[in-house]
Point group: C2
Chain length 387, copies 2
Amino acid sequence: MSRRPTGSAPRVGLDDRLARVALSRLAEPGDLRMNTLVTDLGPVAVHEHLTSQHDLHGLLDDVGQRLEALDPERELVQAEERGIRFVVPGDPEWPAGLDDLRSADPLHDRGGVPIGLWVRGPLRLDELAGGVAVVGSRSSTTYGESVARDIAARVSLTGLTAVSGAAFGIDQAAHRGALASGAPTAAVLACGADRSYPAAHSTLLDHIATVGAVVSETAPGLPPTRIRFLSRNRLIAALTCGTVVVEAAARSGALNTANWAGRLHRVVMGVPGPVTSAPSQGVHQLLRSGAAALVTGGADVLELVGASGEHLVEEPRGPVRSRDRLSRRDQQVLDGVPVARAAPVDSVARAAGLGLLEVQSALSRLHRAGLVEHGEEGWRLAALAHD
Amino acid sequence: MSRRPTGSAPRVGLDDRLARVALSRLAEPGDLRMNTLVTDLGPVAVHEHLTSQHDLHGLLDDVGQRLEALDPERELVQAEERGIRFVVPGDPEWPAGLDDLRSADPLHDRGGVPIGLWVRGPLRLDELAGGVAVVGSRSSTTYGESVARDIAARVSLTGLTAVSGAAFGIDQAAHRGALASGAPTAAVLACGADRSYPAAHSTLLDHIATVGAVVSETAPGLPPTRIRFLSRNRLIAALTCGTVVVEAAARSGALNTANWAGRLHRVVMGVPGPVTSAPSQGVHQLLRSGAAALVTGGADVLELVGASGEHLVEEPRGPVRSRDRLSRRDQQVLDGVPVARAAPVDSVARAAGLGLLEVQSALSRLHRAGLVEHGEEGWRLAALAHD
């Protein structure tokens, strides 16, 4: 299922790619200094400097030694044996959105354009560009999971890719929603693309790798760490054009992803829930602060991320009532008819502010339409016409 | 319990009051033309014009005749016998907020400053000025009712009055929440203040009338009509400084109240709910459109309507984690420790981007703090430090 990395050789020199492999193995995901050096000077120059112990900015310890111990060609072959390709800037499938990470807030101590991404699965990364991230708490409710599943399915049915982090709770619900609609989905991991975290999701991840993509900035074989989770969140935001937070307790990692999405000028969206539900607290905070737009389902999401006018949502309008089909004058009479106790014609006429004769003929029409009732004491509504 | 209307005689001449009584009995609540004439020319002039059949703008049929058949002094006495007083502009308890109705959108075909308000109960109307309207669907859920009750109770405990419409569902929950906290509450009706609509709430309304106020623009004895409901909604909005919509299906009357609140430059607030819940649809529409601010409870409401800084809400922050008490360097090391499978010190050092010795002493500290575990294969987190 995987593609040979050499498929993109025409645009990226092998030295460049191998230097990136080595640096990807050496550096931590989201190491802003390293990523900035690689983006600015190119991987080959950085690699050369580091191996010749020109430790550019006191960046790392014993770096030269460790770099020399690496065998990037062998790494690539081993990765390929596990169905993993290494996608780097300049490759045809390199997603342009990742380059936005270059300009993101330099005061932040993590970030930058990744040196490369390890990818397992047939889905091309550049196909994620119009995609939507659906993220949220691991401690989710069945409500949240059901909404995440629906949003991912709806987004997938229009051909956009649902992206998430393969965690318990909302993440897995999003992946499953996409898969259930027969669409590929992308899981961005905080560990190597060959590993399964959480372990309970190894079948899910293998399935995603056969139809979609399992993506990681972390080199194959490496376990997840907190740094890697935080760095991973920026990729989920950068790879897509919008992030939906379905449920997130205060301080949830999903809020970190939403934060990155906002910083990268992506669309940030939040699904509300009961105010009594802890996993919705973080989302309500996002919505209150104005950092996220409220969405109630896939249609709202598509309207916000879609090309203009492409997915316009029809406002829910409630049932059309028989009242709506009346003339303005008949409506006016109807509005003057008592709700509960019946009243005589002249009382209705006064309430409606109209003449007696006019009101009498209107009442006959309304009676034929089944909207008013007539008894000994006069007229009353046949059904409640207000809420 | 009621006050004698003559208690305010020093400021409003009796002719003025009696003219208003007659006009209140003659005209429909929210009759914009009538209300504007009374505001601009004064009730005595309008009354004189109408009785002398100078039908100013083709306003009403056989008006002079009907006005002459009225006995406003008797009306006042009869009202007083039922514990109802008639509050008019110029009375000490006349709520200044109602005068804002004068300037509200003149293109709208209903509105205007009411000719007077019929009030049953000891609560002074001017005490509603800082109050909060809590409104919503009659077809509410237990979730919505519980939130409405809590908000009304919380608002009441700070001395602000909760105002609503005494309908089934959210309205009654709001009144009960206020009463449960030992505070008065005001119910604004679409029928006469002596009547109970819905009939099932007659005990509730009688209770409100003993500690708070039952208020209506509709003269005593008259039944509710759709026109009177819509006119009533503008009063709920105008009498308070903010309106909270708790649950409202699309086209709910509560949205009409919210609309009036916005037009009158009051604070408009909405409580979100599950996106799968029909009674929350209308609220989500309000929130999406930006017409309302999202509130999750009484504290949020108080922050938005309160005097600046008076009721500032502390953002929910989630539990303080032991991680937060670490030095920045120790946090950096902790962030490099694998989540699941253990790793040797040099791997942690590399992940943290720090020197071996430094990492070793940090790991000892973290171990003593119970944050990391140490086994044969190396170090791992003692507890998950991410979500």
